[in-house]
Symmetry: C2
Subunit: 180 residues, 2 copies
């Protein structure tokens, strides 16, 4: 049986919170109108950066959502007018101090198609080199953490890397690199 189409009656932004807007939708349900909310968010980018000697550049930072320090792939928001690749190079540089001009697409994913409209674009950045200190946004503190592929695999297994988007990025990057 095919999935029946949704009949949308209206959509309106009912809250603006900087990194996301709240959108209220009214649809025609089986028993009359029904309301649901979604989150309108800009696209994101996530980068697996690999050095010339094959190590992966990750970032440690405080994350408000979980109120703690995480170990993740560098990444962030694709700013308006920016390409995902440019955002990826910018975020890598800002968050870790590493730079790469060799970004390869690893595709994209939906972080959460149930509630969010946005995509996260994934990249492999080859020949990443330390180019200076991290320069994150005001009041953000980030530290690079450079791991071998086997250390990355261990960190994904033992709960040091928990971010789903980082895990998808790293799995695709390790497969592309042919890392065991």
């Amino acid at each position: 049986m095919p999935i029946p189409p949704i009949q949308k009656l209206s959509s309106a932004i009912v809250g603006r919170h900087g990194i996301f807007d709240i959108v209220r939708h009214e649809i025609e349900g089986a028993d009359g109108p029904r309301v649901y909310v979604t989150l309108a968010m800009p696209d994101w980018v996530s980068i697996a950066a690999v050095t010339a000697d094959g190590r992966i550049v990750l970032v440690q930072q405080y994350r408000h959502g979980v109120d703690g320090v995480t170990l993740e792939t560098p990444g962030g928001i694709v700013d308006e007018g920016e390409s995902p690749e440019l955002s990826g190079r910018r975020e890598l540089r800002e968050e870790t101090g590493y730079a790469s001009r060799e970004l390869e697409s690893l595709g994209w994913v939906h972080p959460n198609p149930a509630v969010q409209n946005n995509r996260c674009h994934l990249f492999l950045a080859r020949n990443a080199e330390a180019a200076g200190l991290p320069a994150p946004d005001e009041d953000e503190h980030t530290e690079p953490s450079v791991l071998t592929p086997s250390e990355v695999r261990a960190a994904m297994s033992d709960g040091r890397i928990t971010h789903a988007l980082s895990i998808v990025t790293l799995e695709r990057a390790l497969a592309r690199l042919g890392a065991p």
Copy 2:
């Protein structure tokens, strides 16, 4: 350099939207107080169900966030008082009509530690069997889609499966099953 601790001044729920609350935080920034928002969400669950003959049970459903039909692992919200394993069995049955009593943990991930506080618990459900019709929530329409491991890999490569949490679940399940 270690990541400096965050000094939180206050936290308050400023919006309730059913599947999430909006929480406003005030922290002590370098140049005075600063505000940010997070999303308080219940934990989620995502299930890779495998039949006795080694095929994977996925679900097709309309998703409001992306305003379209997706192909995903069954899953959903861990209801209050429910264990993640019980939620997993319930969501598998409701969304696909398949049942399994053999759930194995594949760990958990943070869907988005930057903004959300919740975890997504991942399971492999072995010996899943068709037990009836899907019985989703009111106004939801879901259809099971049963694929071989190689068809699942193809769907993750060609953009038919785009949900990051489904991809992490399926990668871990295929690795656990020893599927090539």
